[in-house]
């Protein structure tokens, strides 16, 4: 007897709220609670298969889906841009599986999922920032042995990280690391702030909002609770500096005090990385 595809598939199953089944969401929330309790500590979690490939924001997506409620409003940005292809797709996935509102205005959002930026607008305790993380381990480039990494974190033995900063300064005259600058969180764990630029790092220190980091491929989540110390690792006599724009202005809104990115080719090549902020400034 022949079966049709419809018969094999059976009756249509309803998609659960926020795509993930309740047990999965609960598991992720449990990991997040642990992460909030131990600021900067990487908590393993059972990263699920998502309808996006690992490395394309699946970690951030799982966090957003695990914490979203019916009254939330979501903003998703990619490099500060609400209209990036990946940002649009992730936002659609979240809104279509939950029915919640979407926005590009930071102050209207309750959850901001981001890759590479913290929005320029000040965020408050009404916001949760969810960051998509490619490499959660700050010591990855320094030590390959997982057991040894575990030991270094457990004992707070970060001398190898300091040596790598020393070597960077000796070789290049400055500390060259730009995105993912290592920070000491709550005087205890060194954390990778990947993928945000240095520009955004001072904005994590004693921030009013909760930040959740999700690395889907690496199966880790970690967190910075509100009002937590986040100190970039640097030598006393080598001050931590954010990216200098050297007097450049945004070619669209003329801003000098935002994080600017370079567009290749055009004459005035700098523009705001945060497109929603830039648009609002121009329309005011």
């Amino acid at each position: 007897m022949n079966s049709t595809v419809d018969e094999i598939a059976g009756p249509p199953q309803s998609v659960p709220f926020a795509l993930l089944d309740e047990e999965s969401k609960r598991e992720i929330r449990r990991a997040l609670l642990q992460a909030v309790c131990i600021p900067g500590f990487q908590v393993p979690f059972g990263s699920r298969e998502m309808p996006v490939a690992r490395g394309w924001g699946s970690g951030g997506l799982q966090i957003s889906l695990a914490i979203v409620g019916v009254n939330d409003t979501i903003k998703v940005i990619d490099q500060g841009d609400d209209e990036g292809v990946n940002a649009v797709n992730l936002r659609r996935l979240i809104t279509s599986s939950t029915g919640i509102e979407e926005t590009s205005e930071t102050d209207e959002a309750t959850i901001v999922q981001s890759r590479h930026r913290i929005p320029e607008d000040a965020m408050t305790s009404d916001h949760i920032l969810v960051l998509q993380v490619p490499v959660p381990e700050p010591l990855r480039g320094i030590e390959r042995n997982m057991k040894e990494l575990e030991r270094m974190h457990a004992e707070g033995d970060y001398s190898k990280m300091w040596v790598s900063l020393y070597e960077d300064k000796v070789r290049n005259g400055v500390i060259t690391q730009t995105t993912g600058y290592p920070c000491l969180v709550a005087q205890r764990y060194v954390m990778a702030t990947t993928p945000i630029p240095r520009w955004d790092i001072p904005r994590l220190h004693q921030a009013e909002f909760l930040t959740l980091f999700g690395a889907g491929r690496e199966k880790r989540v970690y967190a910075i609770p509100p009002f937590t110390d986040v100190e970039p690792l640097t030598f006393e006599d080598v001050p931590f500096e954010v990216e200098a724009s050297n007097g450049a202005k945004c070619r669209l809104c003329g801003s000098e005090e935002t994080f600017l990115v370079e567009t290749p080719g055009s004459e005035s090549r700098w523009s705001c990385s945060d497109t929603a902020w830039c648009r609002r400034k121009r329309t005011k």
Partner: protein, 286 residues
């Protein structure tokens, strides 16, 4: 109630009954091994008595040698004191740690690693064991300094420069990675690193073995100068009597995991008592 120090004020290291076994050991195994039986391996159980009942004291400003052939247990003793290997029995008290009240063998691995920052340093035969070869000479010294809390880049540079200068590493090589250094130069960097935080105790494991004779004698001269200058308590493990004669005042001779002689170095070289010591000295002198 405070416990009185177990070690006398003049001793920087006190080792008592230090033993290391591989495999299950009973009293019979101890009785069936050692120099009289010509083996450290128990023929019944197959277990190895790598070191049994090693005792010695070392004072500040003094260097003790441990001599013996390969497999005699001398490096095992050193590694048990350093914490590179867990020991099976015995005690090690260090004056610099809790004024000698604590048996450091009872400390957690993490606490023992902390001792290595500024209490006790080891110089290994193979510089790859004590250094990161992919890191510059200065960076290798920055490692123990930052571990001890140094956070000033210029101060680290100055300290590294001083140490490399003292150990006669050309300063224009300070920012070269150690992999590009010759064996003798690597050994000098390793010594500089070992001294970074002025530890009161330094353990040397065959520090010049593998270097050619002229380079080795330069490194030995350097070590001897440092010993005189810094008032360190030192344990030197070597199979080479030239090293032992040059660096140490006292030494113990090990064979098949046991100490067979404990003597002043001069005395040992002139008038060895134990047949094995006599053999070693004769071999070295011929």
């Amino acid at each position: 109630m405070t416990q009185s120090p177990i070690i006398t004020p003049q001793a920087a290291i006190r080792v008592r009954g230090l033993s290391k076994f591989f495999g299950p050991i009973d009293e019979g195994a101890i009785a069936r091994t050692g120099p009289e039986f010509g083996t450290a391996r128990d023929p019944l159980s197959g277990s190895i008595v790598a070191a049994w009942d090693v005792n010695f004291d070392v004072a500040a400003g003094e260097a003790l040698g441990i001599v013996g052939e390969s497999g005699s247990g001398k490096s095992t003793v050193l590694r048990c004191i350093a914490g590179d290997q867990p020991s099976s029995a015995g005690s090690v008290h260090l004056m610099c740690h809790d004024e000698g009240r604590t048996n450091v063998l009872d400390l957690s691995p993490a606490a023992r690693r902390k001792l290595r920052i500024d209490q006790l340093s080891v110089v290994y035969q193979d510089p790859a064991e004590g250094l990161s070869l992919g890191v510059t000479a200065g960076g290798n010294i920055a490692d123990p300094l930052t571990a001890a809390g140094w956070r000033n880049f210029e101060a680290i540079r100055v300290r590294a420069r001083d140490l490399l200068d003292r150990t006669e590493v050309p300063l224009d090589r300070m920012d070269d990675i150690v992999r590009n250094f010759s064996g003798g130069m690597r050994q000098r960097v390793q010594i500089a690193r070992a001294l970074a935080n002025n530890p009161p105790i330094v353990l040397l494991d065959e520090p010049t073995t593998g270097l050619d004779a002229s380079i080795a004698s330069g490194v030995l001269d350097l070590i001897r100068g440092l010993l005189e200058e810094l008032d360190l308590a030192v344990v030197v493990v070597s199979h080479d009597f030239a090293v032992i004669e040059m660096l140490t005042q006292r030494c113990i001779v090990m064979q098949h995991g046991r100490v067979v002689e404990d003597a002043l170095t001069d005395q040992l070289l002139e008038d060895p008592q134990h047949p094995y010591s006599q053999k070693l000295v004769t071999a070295a002198r011929s």
